[in-house]
Every structure is written in C-alpha cells, then in structure tokens.
C-alpha cells in the first residue's frame, strides 16, 4: 500500500482529510521527522473552524523553535490519506499548537499563518518513508 505525497517547493507534503464529530476538512501535512507528534497549527485550526475552547490542554509540555505556543490534544480524529488501494484511514490523536496571535503585530501573524501543520514521527514511523527530492518522490508505504 502506497500513499503518494507531493513536493511543494522543496518540502515533502501529504494531503489528508481530517474528521471528528464537530469538524471535517482537508489540509496539507508537512512530513517532519523532527516532530514527535502530528500537530495542527494556527491556519488549519482557523480553516477547520476549531476554537481553543473546544480543545483539551495537552498533558505534556511542548517545545520547538520559535515563540511560545499553547498546546492541546484532539483525541480520536479520523485521518484519511489517498493510497494506491483507495482511502487509507487512521484513527489518531492529534496535537494542536496555537500561537497567541492577538498579541503579535499583523506582519508576524501573517507569517505564522503561513506555517503548515506537520505529520510527525508518531505516524511517519508506522511506514517506510521515502523522501527523494532528486527524483521527485515522496511516499509512505507498508
């Protein structure tokens, strides 16, 4: 079973559909082997219509490069990827990292909203992950 990804610029991405009771939507996930958890960021939170009031605070602290974020957990999210055999579905816990955009200048907010959500090792490591920019191939397979 092969899930083909895409290079956007020079970065590997996978399109995914997320669904859980109160929301559903399609987004890009940047394949990020430096991230331990698959995490939704500000832009996708807004596009999915998720407010932090509906989220459960994360049980563990998160650290990363850049400013501080509030972190939350979304349990039991259905994630669907397009595979060569059809829809490949995972039921998954996702993390959410939310910047405090109200306290930032507009130009900084615009930059943060350009950041993609990430596909972390908690999912990548379940597959053989290929990322070969020279031949234009990015895929998850098993």
């Amino acid at each position: 079973m092969i899930i083909e990804g895409y290079f956007i610029g020079n970065a590997p991405y996978f399109p995914a559909r997320l669904s859980r009771g109160e929301f559903e939507g399609t987004l890009w996930l940047l394949a990020d082997t430096g991230a331990s958890r698959t995490t939704l960021l500000d832009r996708d939170l807004r596009l999915l219509g998720l407010s932090s009031e509906a989220l459960t605070p994360a049980p563990l602290p998160t650290v990363g490069i850049g400013g501080s974020v509030r972190s939350f957990v979304l349990r039991d999210v259905e994630m669907t990827f397009a595979s060569d055999e059809g829809d490949f579905v995972l039921r998954q816990e996702l993390w959410v990292a939310q910047h405090d955009l109200d306290r930032l200048p507009p130009e900084e907010v615009a930059r943060i909203l350009r950041l993609p959500s990430v596909l972390g090792r908690n999912i990548i490591n379940r597959f053989r992950f290929t990322c070969d920019y020279q031949v234009g191939q990015v895929r998850l397979e098993r």
Binding site: Y6, A35, G64, A82, A110, R111
Partner: protein
C-alpha cells in the same frame, strides 16, 4: 478499501499544483492576499484569512494559499 475521499484529496492536491504552476501570474493580481482555489480557478481572495473563510461555502475543503513575494524560511 473505499475510494470516497481519495478522489477529493487528489483534486485538492491538483488545485495546489495549479497555484504553484501559476504563482507568478497570481502574484501580479493577488500579491499579499489569501486566495481560495477550486477546480483550478481562483474563487475568492482577501487580505484577511478569516474574512476569506467566511465567504467560502466549504472553506475546510478548499485550497487556500497566501500569495506573497516575501520569502519565508521555516525552521519547524
């Protein structure tokens, strides 16, 4: 396996490919704006992401990109 969503995911990816392929011409018309693209066509644009979202019938399943000349180095 069902194929219900794979087709939608590929269409979503194709809209993003279209944006990449036409980025220079989109810059001429939509610089520093968010654009929404469906079926390889810009269906809405706005400088404000949330205002754009409010004007879309299905924002959570629409290709949305920021068109800018500003390069961004991402360290995630």
């Amino acid at each position: 396996m069902s194929n219900q969503f794979s087709k939608e995911l590929r269409a979503f990816a194709e809209d993003h490919s279209w944006v990449s392929d036409h980025f220079e011409s989109l810059l001429d018309k939509y610089a520093e704006q968010w654009i929404a693209v469906k079926n390889r066509r810009v269906i809405a644009s706005d400088v404000d992401l949330m205002r754009l979202r409010e004007n879309l019938a299905d924002p959570a399943n629409t290709c949305i990109e920021f068109v800018t000349r500003e390069p961004l180095e991402m360290l995630l």
